[in-house]
């Protein structure tokens, strides 16, 4: 319709590759801060802060999983605590059986649980993935408020199941006597355990970063913006969303396993709707659909919990006010505030 320019369009249209954006710098700063925190704590002789940083890393990991569904896919899951809890119970159950040398099952091979963290991760990812597949396959047929409610309902079902399962502690939960082991590291050392969690968080971030910019990520994000458009180009939004939901549940599930190992305790409260809500709050605080939003959110959340929680029991009142401020005045969360609006190539 218009005269052709004749020049190669790739030159004038594509941005310079490798250019560093402000968001990249903010992300790097957040990553470095989280890394430096436990080292600083040790240097100051405050080993307690190491476990605080570990808590940040694990909650960030759980929220990285949720962010894939909620932030990039627009799927507001109010039931991600289910996957967090399933991961936690996977760690707890495997550890208890391994500690008591009780076989978990004896067919087709005898298996007495495991206290090896990599094995626990696999089991946690497998079961939370299967749960996400079942929950997603049903929930993703709805949208909007119905999706929020149906994911909540599924999580509540699993919550009450955990409460009424006496074999694994019921309401009282399950203690893990010895934290799982990792080849070549002494996980009883808080610093070693932090490094494992941190490394896993970074690996998950790298994975989500690749996915975000891939064909799959393009379809997922487009389905969030306009489902009809995606279907009319010939891509089935349901299949894309289901795959994202499963992947999301698996990441959150592995975080749950780490959380159980950190506290050496798992209880139904990990599956409670408050936990689901906390993960959503983390993402909104940090920046919905931003790669490092969950990291920013988790750092902020745990800091507030610690600082305000030291001053008053009602610290969540102040958290509520901060959340209100973010929703009203800084829709992009902390990342949006510092790095500006999101850009999609």
């Amino acid at each position: 319709m218009m005269p052709k320019s004749g020049r190669r369009f790739s030159e004038k249209i594509m941005p310079k590759r490798g250019s560093i954006t402000r968001e990249t710098m903010v992300n790097a700063a957040l990553g470095l801060f989280l890394m430096a925190l436990p080292f600083g704590a040790l240097a100051l002789g405050e080993p307690f802060y190491v476990s605080l940083a570990t808590r940040m890393a694990i909650l960030a990991l759980a929220a990285v999983g949720l962010n894939l569904a909620l932030g990039f896919g627009g799927l507001v899951s109010f039931g991600h605590a289910a996957f967090f809890g399933i991961g936690g119970y996977a760690a707890g159950i495997l550890a208890v059986h391994a500690f008591n040398a009780e076989p978990l099952f004896s067919w087709p091979f005898e298996f007495s649980g495991s206290d090896r963290i990599p094995v626990v991760w696999l089991v946690a990812a497998l079961f939370s993935g299967l749960a996400a597949l079942a929950i997603g396959a049903i929930s993703l047929r709805t949208s909007g408020v119905y999706f929020i409610m149906i994911t909540l309902a599924f999580a509540q079902m699993i919550y009450y199941f955990a409460i009424s399962w006496p074999a694994y502690g019921g309401e009282d939960g399950l203690s893990i006597t010895v934290r799982g082991g990792f080849p070549g590291l002494n996980t009883a050392m808080p610093m070693s355990f932090f490094l494992i969690c941190y490394a896993l968080l970074m690996a998950a971030l790298a994975t989500v970063w690749r996915i975000r910019d891939s064909r799959f990520g393009a379809a997922l994000q487009a389905a969030r913006q306009n489902e009809v458009r995606v279907a009319s180009t010939g891509i089935e939004p349901f299949r894309i969303r289901l795959a994202a939901f499963v992947l999301s549940g698996m990441i959150t599930g592995v975080a749950g396993a780490l959380f159980a190992d950190l506290n050496r305790f798992v209880s139904p409260s990990m599956i409670s709707w408050q936990m689901s809500g906390e993960l959503i709050v983390l993402i909104i605080l940090g920046g919905t659909g931003r790669l490092f939003g969950p990291v920013a959110g988790a750092i902020l959340f745990v800091l507030l919990e610690f600082l305000l929680g030291g001053l008053t029991e009602r610290w969540q009142l102040f958290l509520g006010l901060i959340l209100l401020g973010v929703v009203l005045f800084a829709r992009g969360g902390l990342i949006g505030l510092i790095a500006g609006r999101q850009r999609h190539g």
Partner: protein, 249 residues
């Protein structure tokens, strides 16, 4: 005669007592522009929706490229080659014009389950998408988010998307809507050439465009096709003049 690309027989759809589509038969042949006109509320968009699969017909059949597609979903029909534009632009607003078109290229290649490679570095996506943008005159606006494009540019982008999707038939629902006289003229010229690529079912209110472009015209009134014919036949059809063109017979 060769089988039509799109062949609709006796299609009916009711909403309660309202017969939105009432025994409609319509075909689209290779190389033609078949215009569908009718007063507001005649059921044009309802008909397009049934062809695309976003509404299910109560009865009747829809055949496309020799196969019955009446039971398929929207995405499955699009993959077979039905390229639709919307009466009100339907785009991914945060994505740039380029990425909107790239999505169609990706869908055409049938490969959305790829997780690692950066799409912006994938020339099998960017080059065809840029070509489509270039064809509709939007190449210079490729990096602008769809939400920031002007109304006319969004209409052009919709066309670029169906071009890039490799459609075997185009269903254009009022592509001229809100375009302004100059934009309409440019688009008319463009569609004129497009029919050689794939036939076009054109729903349009702009009668100048319809009379300039159409090989055949079907007139839809209250869910029924009251006439199908060439431009001259329709112009001189007394029933059409009464029912639609607003002139006494």
């Amino acid at each position: 005669m060769a089988e039509p690309i799109l062949d609709i027989r006796n299609l009916s759809k009711s909403f309660g007592a309202l017969k939105a589509t009432d025994g409609v038969s319509l075909d689209l042949r290779q190389g033609e522009i078949h215009a569908l006109i009718g007063p507001n509320g005649a059921g044009k968009t309802t008909l397009i929706q049934q062809i695309c699969g976003s509404l299910t017909q109560d009865s009747g059949s829809i055949r496309f490229l020799g196969q019955d597609i009446g039971g398929l979903g929207v995405a499955a029909r699009a993959r077979r080659g039905l390229g639709r534009t919307f009466q009100i632009s339907s785009l991914a607003p945060d994505f740039s014009a380029l990425r909107n078109v790239m999505l169609a290229v990706q869908a055409r290649q049938g490969s959305s389950f790829r997780f690692l490679r950066n799409v912006m570095a994938d020339t099998t996506l960017t080059e065809p998408a840029m070509n489509a943008l270039e064809r509709v005159g939007l190449a210079g606006r490729a990096r602008i988010p769809a939400a920031e494009l002007s109304h006319g540019e969004r209409r052009q982008l919709e066309i670029a998307i169906v071009l890039a999707s490799g459609a075997r038939a185009f269903l254009l629902d009022e592509p001229m809507a809100g375009m302004g006289p100059e934009g309409s003229r440019t688009l008319t010229g463009f569609l004129d050439g497009l029919r050689a690529e794939a036939p076009i079912l054109l729903v349009e209110h702009d009668m100048d465009a319809v009379f300039a472009l159409a090989d055949r015209i079907s007139v839809l009134v209250y869910g029924k096709i009251i006439a199908t014919g060439t431009v001259d036949e329709i112009r001189n059809d007394p029933a059409v003049r009464t029912a639609y063109l607003g002139e006494p017979a």
